[in-house]
Amino acid sequence: MSNRVEIQTVWQKMMGVDRRVIYVIVALVMIIPIIFPFDLPIRVSERTTQALFDAVEKFPKEHNAMLISADLSPQDQPELYPMLVSLLRHSFHRRIKVLAMCLYANSLGLAEQAFNQVVSEFNNRATTDEERIIYGRDYVFLGWKPPPIVPILGLGENIFDVFPKDFYGNDLNLQPMMTNIKSYRDMDMIASIAANSLPITYVAYAQARYGIKVTAGVTAVSVADFYPYLDSGQLTGMIEGMKGAAEYEKLVQEKFSDQERRMACEGMSAQSTTHIAIILMVILGNVCYFMQRRHENRRGV
């Protein structure tokens, strides 16, 4: 009898464990695979990542421009930054003209950093002027214009009215790339990289009014909100959190033999081990709860 009471006390003790013990366990299962990484197969999701990759692959020559709305911020950088970098690498490999803008001020620094990183990767490898990525010819960074609804609607009418100058203060109409790009009519797709509902805003205002395709790169926490729009065909593919970014990195690497750093893939082994640890802790927590309840019922508490 005394032995049984001792076992029941263990359940109670486990339920009351200091949360800092759990933090240490989670930190360890995260850090060890980062220091000693191991390869896990990355399975590409057909409906989401592959669909977006295919859409970029099938970009028509007559509308060879994509608008990237880079609305990432430091707090969602580990998920969204690798997506933006992979999408830029893919676009530049395919020589798609990229027009980028931010709808929030705190996105400007990270968006510019992503462009600088990818452009220097391409230019370091380039041997001819054709292979280089040149500002104004291959991409233009429009910068930021608040509130979000103004550029979203304004770009459907005339880009130059909303952004007379680019992020660096140059006259937009003097950029060679812009001679054939005046509004959404001259683009094939909008890629909204955001941690909030901005992709839905693009669907509601830009797609419904101007008929342009919209795709999204979103954080895992908000993915569930976008599935209905994916199912209805309003979103053309989607990158879901760090997992989706790793899938996109894999697709770009396989297609173009791109050997640059794959930031999202670096975190995949740590993500798997942490998920296993959390699943085990959820199961353990529930077992402890039910065993403790059973013990109390038997004692008639």
Partner: protein, 228 residues
């Protein structure tokens, strides 16, 4: 081990550790990092707003219009809101300035003017857009067509979506008591809602883990250089 030598990498690493220290307990190091973040973020936003909005959209048109009048004399062109140089901008500026009346009790009612204008604009612009994208297209997507049933799994999931949509709508239909045939349908609806919540929780965990992993990669790879 290839530890970083750049000042800003060290700066970011120390601030990351300072923020993580809150997991142990609240402490002065965490407070410093927190206040620094808020201060820098606000300062950055205010500066960008000033140079990207206030100067090009408010100050420049007025200054340019003033120069035009001084050079060529007054003309109706400086009242045209579509010109780069115009005095018309004073009107929306005055309406915007009415927000400040909130702090003057006698005329605080005037704050309703800019609030009313803003609400009216956004309501008018968002109702048709939300209706089209969020209701009509979603309704259209829930219709089962013969083409969707051509293959087993896509057809199966289409039917699941249709049934769960109907059941969830019935669960949230409060105008009549849910008994008889409505009861099992409503129970199926709540089951679907619970599965949805579970999926959202799982995705939230995945997102938070990703953020922590991002920081640990920064600390161990970019800062300490212990990962090749």
């Amino acid at each position: 081990m290839n530890i970083a030598t750049e000042f800003w990498t060290w700066n970011a690493a120390i601030l990351t550790i300072a923020i993580f220290s809150f997991l142990w307990r609240d402490n002065p190091l965490y407070r410093i990092a927190e206040h620094l973040y808020i201060g820098v973020a606000n300062g950055y936003s205010i500066t960008l707003t000033y140079f990207n909005v206030v100067v090009p959209m408010m100050i420049d048109p007025l200054v340019n219009a003033g120069k035009m009048v001084k050079q060529d004399g007054f003309s109706t062109a400086v009242l045209n809101p579509f010109n780069d140089a115009n005095f018309f901008i004073i009107l929306p500026m005055m309406v915007g300035a009415l927000y400040i009346t909130r702090f003057i009790p006698k005329i605080s009612w005037m704050v309703r003017i800019p609030i009313g204008l803003t609400m009216g604009y956004y309501t008018a612009i968002s109702i048709p857009a939300s209706f089209e994208a969020g209701i009509l297209r979603q309704l259209e997507a829930s219709i089962v067509t013969r083409a969707q049933l051509a293959e087993f799994w896509p057809g199966f999931w289409t039917i699941v979506i249709l049934l769960s949509t109907l059941a969830t709508l019935i669960y949230f239909f409060f105008s009549t008591e849910q008994k008889g045939v409505l009861r099992p349908i409503s129970n199926f609806g709540i089951l679907m809602v619970m599965i949805g919540f579970g999926a959202s929780f799982g995705l939230t965990v995945m997102a938070r883990i990703s953020l922590a992993i991002g920081r640990f990669i920064f600390l161990f790879k970019d800062w300490l250089g212990v990962v090749s």
